[in-house]
Structure formats: C-alpha cells, structure tokens
Symmetry: C3
Subunit: 468 residues, 3 copies
C-alpha cells in the first residue's frame, strides 16, 4: 500500500486541531457502515453476468461523464475517449487521461479517482502521470482479470448492502429477479421506475414508447386512459420486483394537474407530433402530479430530479447522444411549482416525496422550508455537479438551521462509475463528520447528540426515506 | 443553575482558539446592552393586562409556528398542538414536544428553546425528553404562576428597552397609549402601521376593511381618494401614538405607480371582487409606491418584507388559517422591482427604507449594492427562516465587502414567542462577534475598530434606522 | 514606514495557525510576480502624457465610484466629490472622505485604500481621519509632484507587465501605438474593442455612432451590411494595434441570432428610433452572437460582462450621467441564454469566451458546469461588486469541485483607480493562497500541487486565456 495523502486519516476533516479531533471521533461511528445506495445508474445485469471488466478505460473513463467532460473542456474529442459508443484505442485514451491528470486537482472527480486507486486498486495515485500511463494501464489490466475484481466480488469488498438501479418502465426486471433469487448474492439490487421517456413529448421515442406501453399493459384501454392504466400496472410490477421508488428527471418542477379531457387531448398531440413547447411542459407537469397521485395508492417513494438543460451542445448531441456530459443546470423554482402537488398530497404521512436540486439557491429559500413543514417532503442530498465536498457542506449549512437533520433523504451517489461508489459514500461520511464537528466545537450541539445524528444520516435516513 | 452547554460562555463563537479569544472580548462589549426590538408580533395588551401566562403549552408551543411546523413535518396534526385556536390538551401537546425534542437539534428554534430553559426558566435543557415531559410541565407551570414571570416583570428581566408591535391601521392603540402613560412601565412599546389587509385585493376581508377605513377616516371623501386620505390619517395617528415605522408584507417588491384614474378604477374592482391576479399585483405595487410617497411627508420609516408564498398548503389553510407555519419563501427580485420607488424617493436622506429578504441570493447581488448607494436604503437583517446562526453569518459575509457595516437595519426578532426574545438577540450578538473576530484574526480590521462596530450594530443602528 | 496592520504579512490569510503557515508559503510563490491586467478602464493617453496627477482628490476620489457611492449612501451629493465632471473644492472633498473613513471598514474599497496609503504612498492609513485630513492632503499633494509618482514611473513601481484598456471602436488607438513604439516604456498597453455603444438601441448616441461607423469603415456598404463590415474592419484594426480581446457589457446573456433580413430590419428601427424594448434586446442578443462569429475568424478573445441595471437612479443619471456608482446587479441566466452561441461556437478550441457574472448564484449552477464542458468557455473572475475578499474565496468554493482550476480567466481588476491596481492584484493572490491552503490543510491536495496551481492562476492563466 502507498503512503500518499489519499489514505491520510484526516482527509476532508477540518484543519482546526480541536475540531478535527471531534470529527475523527464522529467519523469512527460511521466509516465502516455498509453502503446503502438508493439511487444510481448501474445495470443489474452486470451482477448477473459477473464478467471481468474489459480494460481500465472501459471501466474508469468512457462511461464517466464527470471525467470525460474535463478532458473535453481542454480540447479532446469525446470520441478519443470512447464516449457514446465510439470506438477508441483504450490505451491511447488512458494516456490522455493520465497526461491530463493535473486538471482534476481540487475536483470531486479527482478526489474520487485518487480514492479508487488507493483503496480499490491499491495503487498510489501520485503515480498517475503521462510518463507512467502505460505501466499503470498494464497493472490495472492485470488487476481487472483477478476474480476478486469481478462485479460481485467488488460488491462484497465495497460492503454494498442496497443498490438501486434506474430502469425503463418496460424493462422485464429479469436481472433483478435473478439476483433476488440467488442466495449466494447478498446485496439487495432494487429496480427504480423511471418513466421520463414516456412523459416527455420531446423525447424522440415518445410516440413509439407509449404505443408499446399501452399495447402491452393498457389492460385493453386506449389513449390517455390506457396510458395511465399501463403506468399504474408497471409501477405495481416494479414494486413486486422489490422496487421502492420511482424517479422523475423532469425539466422543471411544475405540477399543475390537467383535467382528464384536457390531458387526453394533449396526449394525442404528443403522440402525433403536433404539440408545442408549452403543451409538452403542461403535459409533463400533469404527469408529475399523476405520478404523485399513483404513489398515494401504491406507496412508492417519489424522487424528483429537475433543473438540467439536457443536451446543451447541439453538435455534441448529434455526434454522441445523451448523457455524455453536456447537460447544464439552470435556475429552479419549487415553491410555486410544487404547490398544486403538495397542497393535494403533501400532508400524507405515508407519501415520501424527495426533492433534489442542482440549484443551491433553493436550499435555504425553498427546500428546507418545504421539508420542514410537509410530512411528505424530504430534502434530497446535493446531487450531480454539487455532490462535491464543499457543496455537500453548504447543503448542511443552508438547511440545518431551518429544518434540522430529520428531513434528509440520505446520500445518493447517482453514479455510472461502479468503482467510485465507496469513495463517494466515504466522502459523504467525512463531510457530515466535518460539519457536525463544527457545531460541537461551537457549543451548538453536544458530541453525544452529534454521534447519534451522524449514524442516523448515514444509515437510518436512507432506509427510512426510501422504505428499505 | 445547570451546567449544560446551553450556558457555555463560548457558545456560537468560533472554534479556532485565537479567533475565539477575540470574539469573547468583542461580545463582552454588547452582551449586556438593553434589547431594542423594532419589529415583532407581540400584543401591547399583554403588558397592559399583565396576566400570568396560562400554561407552558400556550406560552411556548401553540403560538410559535417555527416550533409547531417541525412537529407537523413528522406527522403531528397542528390541532394536537393547539394551533389556530384549536383546543388541545396542553399537557399532551407538551409531551409531544418533549418526546420529539431531538428533532430540533441544530435548528435555530432548538437553540432558542435551550436558551429559554437555561436563562429564562433556570431549567437545564438537557432534561427535555419524553420521559421528563410531565415533570417539566409541572415545574414550568409553577414558574409561570410566579409574579416575576408576568409579562412586565419579564420585560425587566429581559432588559427590554424598545419593543415595536405590528398593528392594524384601525387599531385604536389604546394599549400603547396606556403603556406610554404608565410611569411604572419603562419599556417603550411602539405601534407599527401594517396596512397589508387594506392593500391586497386577495385578502378575504379587503372590501370590508377598506369600507370601514374610508367611512371612519376618509374625511368625507370616497373611493380611492378617500382611501388614500384615510391611510394618510391613520399613519399620522400611529405616529402620534409613538409609532416610528410602517411595515409592508408584500407579495413581491414591485413598486410601479399607477396614475390616479387607473388606480381608482382598479380599487373599485378590488372592492367589488372583479379583479384579476395581475390587477391585484398592480394595485399592490402602486400602494407600495404610495406608502413611500406618504413617508416623504410624515417621516415614518418604511420596512418591506416581501417574498413569502402565504398559506401554501390549501388544506392547512382551510383547517387552521394563516400564520401557522406553511408560508414558504420564493425567489425575490429587487433591482428592477424597486427602481420606480427608489428613482423617485431613494435620494431623500430623511426617508429610511429597510429592505428585508428571505432569498439570500439577493444579499450580494441586490441588497448590498442598493444599500451602498441610495441614502434611503438600509439592508434589513436576515429574517424569518434565515434569522439563524449560519445565515446571519452569511449575511455579513455577503454584504460587508460591498457596503460595510453602516447601512444595516439592526437585528429584528420578528417574533410571537415572547420568551425567545433574549435568546434571539443574544444569538445575534454572538454571531456579530464571531464574524468580526474573523476579520480581526485575518488582519482585515483592527480589534479596536471591531469593538466600535459591534456596539454600533447592536445599539446605535436600530436607534438610527428606526428613528427611535 | 508605518507599523499599521496594513502591512501585516498575514493579512487576509487564514486564522488557523497551521493553515496560515501553508498559505504564507504559497503566497511567497506569487507575491512578487509582475502584474497582468487584461481588463480595466484606464486611459492609454495617461502614459503617453505622463503628467503628474493634479491632486489627491482627482486621483483617488472623484473617479472611483466604489468609493464615492459609499459617501453618497450616507447623504453626500456626488457633486461635492467632483463626480461626473462637476467642479468641487478638492480639499473639501478630501475632508469629507477622511471624516467618513470609518464607513469603509470591512469593505474591499477600504482595504485597497489602506494598501495604497501603506504601500504606494508610504503613509500609515491609521492616520486617516477628519482631524488629519488637511495634513494628509498636503503630504499627498507633495508626493504627487515627485517624478517617481508620474504614471510611467508608477507602472514600474507596480511591476506592471500588461495593461489592457477599454476603447471605443472608432478610437484611433494612437496612444497605444505611441506606447508600443516607445522603447523606453516597457509595459504592454493593449486596446480592447468595446462596441456596446454601437449595439444598444437604448444608448442615447446609437444612431450617430453607427452612422459614423458605417461612413468611415463600411467599405462602401450601407445599413446592417455596412455595419457588420465596419465592425469586422475595426476589430482587425484593434488586433493590429495589439488588442487581443473584445469586451461586451450586455444587458443580459441572450445570444439568439437573427437572420440577416430580420436583423437588418431591426437595425433600421434602431437607427430611426422606432424600436421597442423587446426589439432592442433581440438586436443586442443577435450582436452578441455576431461578435462570437467574427471571433471565429479573427481569433480575438471575447469577454461577456452582463447583468448590471445601468443608471438605476433616474435623478442621478440626469445630474451626473453614467458610470457614477448607481449601476445595480440583477439576476442573471446563462444556461438557456448562451445555448445558441455555445452550440454553434462552443466547441472551437481556438475561441476563448470568458463569462463574467455579478450574480454569485451562477457560479456552481451555470458558470462552472459550462466552463467544465465547452472548450471555448472560461470562468471569469469575480467582478465589480464581488471582487472583494470573501466573494473571491466563494468563487473558488463554488467552482473548484466541478471544474478545478484550469478554466479560470485570471484575475481582472476592471478599475478606473490606477493606484489601487497593486492592492487589488495582491488581494487576489492572498485569497488564492488562503483558499488553496485550506485544501492542503484538509488533505485534499498536496502543497507541491498547490504551489503549481497558484503560479498558474496568477501568471499563466491570464496569459493563456487572453492570448497574451
């Protein structure tokens, strides 16, 4: 093992010696707890197949848009990095990454990669450089062939207890069922119902998607009625396969419901491609409301992830498609937008509605006040661009005074980068210890209480909020 | 007295030992100064009657929506807590509060309650628990019967020098006059003119309110003209009763004036209920402008408190009415909205216009730049959801670099919770000491100057800005 | 020399002793590097003439709206301070400033003035007071007569290597050429092409400006076509005179292009004064796009400075004109607004597009994600109201986790106050040392890497981004 600062026991803890001592003790309560990951983007099939990872580039670079976007920003083509299914020379892509490693200093991604090298692969991250690129590639390539680096073995190494995937409503969930039936595999891998491609007229496949959905699961009904019926049916199917939540990557947070006739008329426009932007938004808002309505019956937790301008660069989208790093956050508004939904369902104690944001301005202004009043509302963890060290700390600073610690979703890693999972969760634990230690050092809360809270945040919160 | 951390001399001060020493010394300059509370929601009549408080629940729980909303968020009915005039078993409500005490850890409310227990009632807050609920209820009940716990006696204990109430324009202010005439009562209890229920068409009583207003004080004039006359008249009446400010809880910060004919036409629509949302907003904006205009003549300080979505939960409003914890902040905009008002009155050195916000994003972007230019504008203290420790510190961090310390309103407690007043003011004093100590420790200002500033912030600012 | 805290070696460095030691060492790497100022508002002619400064007020007070706005906020007339060409008694203005010196405590301006007194004039800033005003005036007046306080000599003292001015497209740039041709003058003084007065219909001189522009440089073409031709021609002229960038003080960040016919029709409306607000904005957005388009050909760096409500106080504008301290920031939106421009030109590695903001909420939400993806985009330094100590630190805290340090514009001083330049750049260096030291102390980056980064931020970044 290396002696790099990547394994320094005080990494991410406060610099002030007195506060750091407190933080160390708080961290000790949670550092070894199992990982609960109630929202992410891995494939369940990966654990069914349990194949070795192909090579370092395919495992660590190509699928991780946090990482490739940085290289793109300094001028590399995404195709050189194997993004979007483009073929690349994996060793060459690896050299690009290693040569440009200094770009990642100070970034969350850089920190996670260091942690992966140190704690997953046992390689000192200080060795990452253009000079060492080939040597590291070969070492990692060897490691990935070892049986203890297959997906299932890593799940044990990572101490993974729960992992939720994100799935299409028409997914047959066979992989999830196989894993649930396999007594030799202990982590719970749960599906998440994600109907975005069935609620947005502007999704290129909307018409085909809903046609197939209604045909297969509409229970003989047609049009909007069949569509609702089919969604209800698939939610139930996900629930029976162990799913506990539905996820909604909406454009904004609008939730104004439409009456059935109006919604049906829009739905038809959506299907035949004669909709306007306003109509698409109105229908999406209505569907967010309808999903909440269905949750009143089936009890599935509802998570809302709005506020990303998807596929911002037209030229990138044409070449590489979606989810390759050019989604950009924009201003979000929750107070007005969520009022219809919350006024109708917000008082239901059995409805768990988790609001995520990438717009930090909403932490103290909207998220905390909403979560501190409505029994249904939980403040989602900082997410995507803001699941980094300083932003996670700010989340606490901006929400705790109003709402305390009890209305928190628990950390989510939301990742496609399997090997970054331990680093991400460990980061969250250290940030919580850092924040709580300050409150103790300022004599705002006692250390005993802080110890209870950190265990609750890391372990009990996600179980409670995601009904695990 | 207890030995709990609630009386730790360094509570809320910085953890770094060197900075903490500076903060201690700065705090010593202001910790014992009298309390000046130029904006709040107590009733003057309470001091006239000087009756003992009924029981711990009626004093500490039912009227404090900061506190009841937290219990509501975990599933209690507001009726169980005696909110909105609902009858409840006060002992049972007290048990709910005590059992759920851990929810308040880290919140401003939790900190204030601890301080009240420790410093007002002499009870160690560490004893608060479900187990001790009945015992504490009985102890407090005894204490509340003591003569030194009646409203007037507490005012002395609290070292209360000035307390402003918030009053309806038609209030006869007899209570204020009685107190002013009572030589045995030393605090100044001042009325504040709050005409919201007379400027918002969407207030359920608008038509009745303005009819009564015009009839009684319109000087024989009718319609919009009588309305303006009556408002002018009542402002004068408040001023004569010792009032120094008017308060405006507007929806947004819009201030575009209407010409007299247009305003009169809208006013008539408001009275007969034929208005649109846009017309209501336009009239409210016009009235914010008109209130500023009247202030040019009568010299009353004008405070603006916009940005709260009132009665967000329709179902709660139907059951419990207004001001019960479900008002939620939303995005605020001042630069464009205030331009008409400030371009007309902003250069008047005798006009004091205090801008409050719950949208922290406006601190550095709008509030500080406006307060640092216009002689009329003062930056209001962090308010409501953001009058908590970290947010108050952020207020300084976001405004000082642009505007320094001279354009600050002074702290306001804005409270309905009488016994929390000392804790709230003491919190503010500690936060100022904390912030200033950092500037000193970073060699940005001298400690001598910091000592002058903290006294100015706590004592001179509110006197100067509120013309006390 | 004085012993005031203004020369304390640890000023602006962190209070925690361990972190401060690191910061000291990091600062040592950059404190003496030459000053590179790629954006500001000095006049090149000042260095050609090299005349002594007239008096302390004309040098330090009248032209510095950061400073005069504070005095205005407490009731002084801008005319008393010699603002906007108004004649004032310079000694009397100086007395006003000195008497009100305590108002500046904690402000960026106050800090800069202290540094100027201490490090430029060798006067202990603790002496600034109403009592000492005349004495200080006389001392400074003497100093300003010395040859080593002429503009050129100061440039040497300041270790000024590059200074960009901001210039009208029709400027003949003779001053810049004279300086470039003068072997005895070593700093590079570069022009910046700033076409705002030629793109905004609402500029009072728009029609005259564009007429003159087209007549002189339209290459015989007329209307919109001649206008574009002339702009292209002048950009080339600036480039040949050493300019490397164009600057755009737009209202907002909109960039939707218009087709040629539509743009031409609007242009004609702009010239004959028959435009609406919406049309003016649409034309301005189109021109932001066209400027980016021209930059693809000539390679000039493009800087965008939107988000200021210019001339907010109508009465001030009537008396004093523009740029006198009553421009107020407002909410900014980049993600949607820049999409047309970035989707077209954002992937060009040779196009440098620097986005500035005064709306801090965009740091983590929009600026960092954009700069971390598009090869063209650089995150501009905190600017104007937020180029102060705490806000500069926040800039790092809000952008580094997403984007690291490589997509930064370098510090810009943007100043009209010549003698504040060293203080401003030194402040930036101390803030970077402060921020980086914390990352080192928290074991997030190594001190060796931090040392590389700080040199890159201060020296290499502005050279690279501004193509110096």
């Amino acid at each position: 093992m290396s002696t790099s600062h990547a394994s320094h026991p005080d990494r991410l803890l406060p610099a002030d010696p007195g506060t750091r001592d407190i933080a160390r003790r708080l961290l000790a309560h949670v550092e070894d707890l199992p990982i609960i990951s109630p929202h992410g983007h891995l494939e369940a099939q990966m654990f069914v197949d349990d194949e070795p990872f192909t090579n370092p580039t395919e495992l660590l670079i190509s699928p991780d848009h946090y990482l490739t976007r940085v290289l793109h920003s300094v001028g590399y083509e995404l195709s050189e990095l194997g993004v979007g299914g483009h073929e690349c020379d994996p060793r060459e892509a690896w050299r690009i990454f290693c040569t440009n490693w200094p770009l990642y200093t100070g970034t969350a991604t850089g920190y996670w990669v260091e942690q992966e090298f140190e704690h997953v692969f046992g390689i000192n991250p200080d060795r990452i450089s253009g000079e060492n690129a080939d040597e590291l590639y070969d070492e990692l390539d060897e490691i990935l062939k070892r049986p203890d680096f297959r997906p299932r073995a890593l799940a044990d190494t990572f101490n993974l207890e729960v992992l939720a995937t994100t799935d299409d409503p028409l997914d047959d969930l066979q992989a999830h069922k196989a894993l649930a039936d396999d007594a030799s595999f202990t982590p719970r891998v749960l599906p998440t119902f994600r109907p975005d491609a069935y609620t947005k007229f502007y999704n290129a496949h909307f018409a085909d998607n809903v046609e197939k959905l209604i045909d297969l699961h509409g229970g003989g009904k047609t049009g909007y009625e069949g569509y609702l019926e089919a969604l209800r049916d698939r939610r139930q199917f996900f629930k029976e396969a162990g799913g506990t939540s539905t996820d909604h990557g909406t454009h904004d947070a609008e939730t104004t419901p439409l009456d059935a006739a109006e919604a049906a008329a829009l739905f038809d426009k959506g299907r035949n491609g004669t909709w306007t932007r306003e109509e698409a938004q109105a229908f999406e808002a209505n569907m967010t409301f309808r999903m909440a309505e269905m949750a009143q019956d089936d009890g599935l937790v509802m998570t809302l992830h709005p506020g990303s301008y998807r596929n911002h660069s037209t030229s990138t989208f044409e070449k590489y498609g979606a989810d390759v790093g050019h989604d950009i956050p924009f201003q979000m508004e929750y107070t007005n937008a969520l009022q219809p939904l919350l006024s109708t369902f917000g008082e239901n104690k059995d409805f768990n509605f988790v609001i995520f944001t990438m717009d930090e301005t909403t932490f103290s202004r909207e998220i905390a006040p909403l979560a501190g009043y409505y029994p249904a509302v939980y403040a989602g963890a900082p997410w995507w661009f803001i699941d980094e060290i300083d932003a996670m700390n700010r989340f606490r600073q901006y929400t705790t005074g109003t709402t305390g610690f009890s209305r928190y979703s628990g950390f989510i890693d939301d990742t496609r980068a399997y090997c970054s999972i331990p680093a991400r969760h460990n980061t969250s634990r250290r940030v919580e210890a850092n924040y709580l230690a300050r409150l103790v050092a300022e004599h705002r809360i006692t250390e005993d209480r802080a110890a209870e809270i950190i265990v609750d945040l890391i372990d009990a919160s996600p179980r409670r909020v995601f009904k695990l």
